[in-house]
């Protein structure tokens, strides 16, 4: 029977043969829980008891929860500061690293190293950096030049940027590598032609390099946005004694979900938050793709 199939039909049979396992896997591990989470968001459940129907109660509760709006704002702060800043820094580094021959490989490795490091380890090291005198590196340095102490992690205004810094740093290596690949793919003759035409470096950067890097930029923006919207491990590990503190000033959505689900065991409420996060991620990604898409 197989032998009587056309070449195209045989290819389809084989393709589905190989796809069957991942499809099954995804259905069980991804789609079923996703559907279930959406269902739970309309129910009350404490993980052990029976589920009871709650309708839109969880969403209404969420809408009226001041902590949620605080957390929602925090999440967007991570996104709106983190993504542009990391994009800018990684581009500047990649742009200059690309023109450098001396120690090129070594420097690239240095920038990539944080990306390979465990976020937990990194968060704890940075947490130590931020401690007050005589433990913390930064405050020691400040003290040695006569500047007063800065409460990095214990201040409601400083804590979020202080946590964002290592998160940006951790992602730089990856973004630099992607940017460098993008820069390398621009033909040298484009720059030579521009040199003969005599335009300045700013024109070259603004009208040749950046437009041609657009696909790279789209990729990095979408990837880094998703990363910042889902930020968790840096926050959790740097504020373990009071996760998301002080006064929820660093708490992102994922941490709130975690707390609601596994400290309060309010699964329905946590699921509602998850659905909101999912929607935000989807909308942000779609909007970015649309804005940055080629006309």
């Amino acid at each position: 029977m197989y032998k009587s199939l056309t070449i195209r039909q045989k290819q389809i049979v084989w393709a589905w043969g190989f796809l069957a396992l991942p499809v099954l896997f995804y259905t069980v591990i991804r789609f079923y829980p996703t559907g279930n989470a959406i269902l739970i968001s309309f129910q009350n459940w404490n993980l052990l008891g029976t589920r009871t129907w709650a309708g839109f109660d969880n969403y209404i509760k969420l809408f009226n929860d001041p902590v949620f709006w605080k957390v929602f704002a925090n999440t967007f702060k991570y996104l709106l500061i983190g993504t542009p800043l990391s994009l800018l820094i990684s581009f500047i580094i990649a742009y200059h690293l690309d023109q450098l021959r001396f120690m090129h490989g070594f420097l690239r490795m240095l920038y990539f190293l944080p990306f390979m490091t465990s976020a937990v380890a990194m968060a704890w090291v940075w947490r130590w950096f931020y401690q007050p005198v005589p433990t913390g590196l930064f405050n020691n340095l400040l003290a040695s030049v006569g500047i007063g102490q800065i409460a990095f992690l214990n201040s409601t205004t400083n804590a979020l940027p202080a946590i964002l810094a290592p998160a940006i740093w951790a992602g730089l290596g990856f973004q630099i590598i992607i940017f460098m690949a993008g820069l390398r793919s621009i033909p040298k003759s484009y720059y030579e032609a521009a040199r003969i035409d005599g335009v300045g470096w700013w024109t070259i950067l603004w009208e040749i390099t950046l437009p041609l890097l657009k696909p790279t930029i789209v990729f990095i923006v979408v990837f880094s946005s998703i990363g910042f919207l889902r930020i968790f491990d840096h926050v959790f590990n740097m504020t373990t004694n009071n996760p998301g503190g002080p006064l929820n000033s660093t708490k992102p959505l994922v941490l709130m979900i975690y707390d609601t689900a596994f400290s309060s065991f309010d699964m329905g409420y946590a699921a509602a938050q998850t659905v909101v996060l999912f929607t935000v991620l989807l909308v942000v990604s779609l909007v970015q793709l649309r804005i940055l898409r080629d006309k």
């Binding site: 484009y190 030579e192 521009a194 035409d197 024109t203």
Partner: protein
């Protein structure tokens, strides 16, 4: 418009010398083609003229002015690149206009100049298109257009036709030649294709290993090549080279019967004969061999003749297109003694 002069031009990368002192004078409005195998230094020379590579030693003069230390933009040149270097995200208008970015002209003058160039290149209708919507030949024209708007003293072309298919290449070759006749700028054109060089050039510069082998008109380099390299490089198929010995004004080619040739000096030498000149009848018999392959070209057929080890293997000859000798048959090839080129066996220099 301007003259161009290269004087003792040397290029070294670290310790490797790739150009060993190039001397060349290009007249105002002349179309000069640099040709040679890859790695011969022709592109390097062009890029040095453009200012994209530094001059190690010697001088480059454009319009009588030494430009060694001038930025490319100040040299009054324009260049067309092998991959065109037209920007995919800009329209044809912006691409061509890019060459005018730094020109001291009003906006109106710039757009008038742009329209004028577009009209010359017959692409007024294409100005709002993106490069991705253009064919290979049209992209090539955009690249030429961008060079033309600058109205440079010297046009530099770096193998601009090698990305085109054979038919389009022939067409663009003609277009560039016509363009040159029309605008009359000095052109330096680099190619590895000897046909391009022959068909387009006023003068051809043949290069090998960083040395100029010969400079001359297409007819000169074809009919009186300076050495065996030029002789074999120019003309397709390549000139046959046959080992020979000469004594007392008689020459024995590939161990054959002596043939009177007064200009041949005594000793071992190489005899070159173009396939076009090696025919079945007419002239004097040169050698005999078995036909191994036929290549019909329509009005004529190229035949590959196995002339034996003494002749260095296979030679190519020309036969009639209608009645070529059959594969496997034995033929005697003839040539006019005047069509034989003599080369020194060791140096390869032409013996006249």
């Amino acid at each position: 418009m301007a003259t161009l002069a290269l004087r003792n031009l040397v290029k070294r990368y670290d310790k490797t010398e790739v150009l060993h002192g190039i001397d060349l004078e290009v007249a105002d409005g002349e179309f000069v083609v640099f040709v040679g195998p890859s790695g011969c230094g022709k592109s390097t020379t062009l890029r040095m003229i453009a200012g994209l590579e530094e001059v190690t030693q010697g001088t480059i003069e454009i319009g009588g002015r030494v430009v060694n230390n001038l930025e490319p933009k100040d040299r009054d040149i324009a260049m067309v690149f092998q991959n065109y270097a037209i920007y995919p995200h800009m329209t044809v208008r912006k691409n061509i206009g890019f060459g005018l970015r730094t020109a001291k002209m009003t906006k109106l003058e710039k757009s008038a100049r742009l329209e004028e160039v577009a009209a010359i290149l017959d692409m007024t209708d294409l100005l709002e298109r993106k490069p991705s919507q253009l064919s290979g030949g049209q992209r090539q024209r955009v690249a030429i257009g961008r060079a033309m708007v600058r109205d440079p003293a010297v046009f530099l072309f770096d193998e601009p036709l090698s990305n085109l298919d054979a038919q389009l290449r022939t067409q663009m070759r003609l277009e560039i030649k016509k363009l040159h006749q029309r605008v009359g700028n000095t052109i330096v054109f680099v190619t590895h294709d000897q046909v391009e060089a022959m068909t387009m050039a006023d003068r051809i510069v043949i290069m090998k290993d960083g040395h100029i082998q010969q400079v001359g008109t297409p007819a000169e380099v074809y009919h009186s090549p300076a050495n065996a390299f030029v002789a074999r490089f120019i003309g397709a198929p390549s000139m046959n080279m046959l080992p020979a010995t000469a004594k007392d004004g008689a020459i024995s080619i590939a161990g054959g019967a002596p043939l009177d040739l007064a200009r041949a000096p005594d000793g071992v030498l190489n005899v070159g004969v173009r396939p076009d000149d090696l025919v079945l009848t007419g002239g004097v018999p040169i050698l005999t061999g078995r036909v191994t392959v036929q290549e019909p070209l329509g009005n004529e057929t190229l035949i590959y003749v196995d002339a034996g080890a003494q002749a260095g293997g296979e030679v190519i000859a020309k036969a009639d297109g209608r009645t070529p000798p059959a594969v496997g048959s034995t033929v005697t090839l003839h040539a006019d003694p005047g069509a034989l080129h003599l080369f020194d066996a060791t140096t390869g220099v032409t013996i006249r």
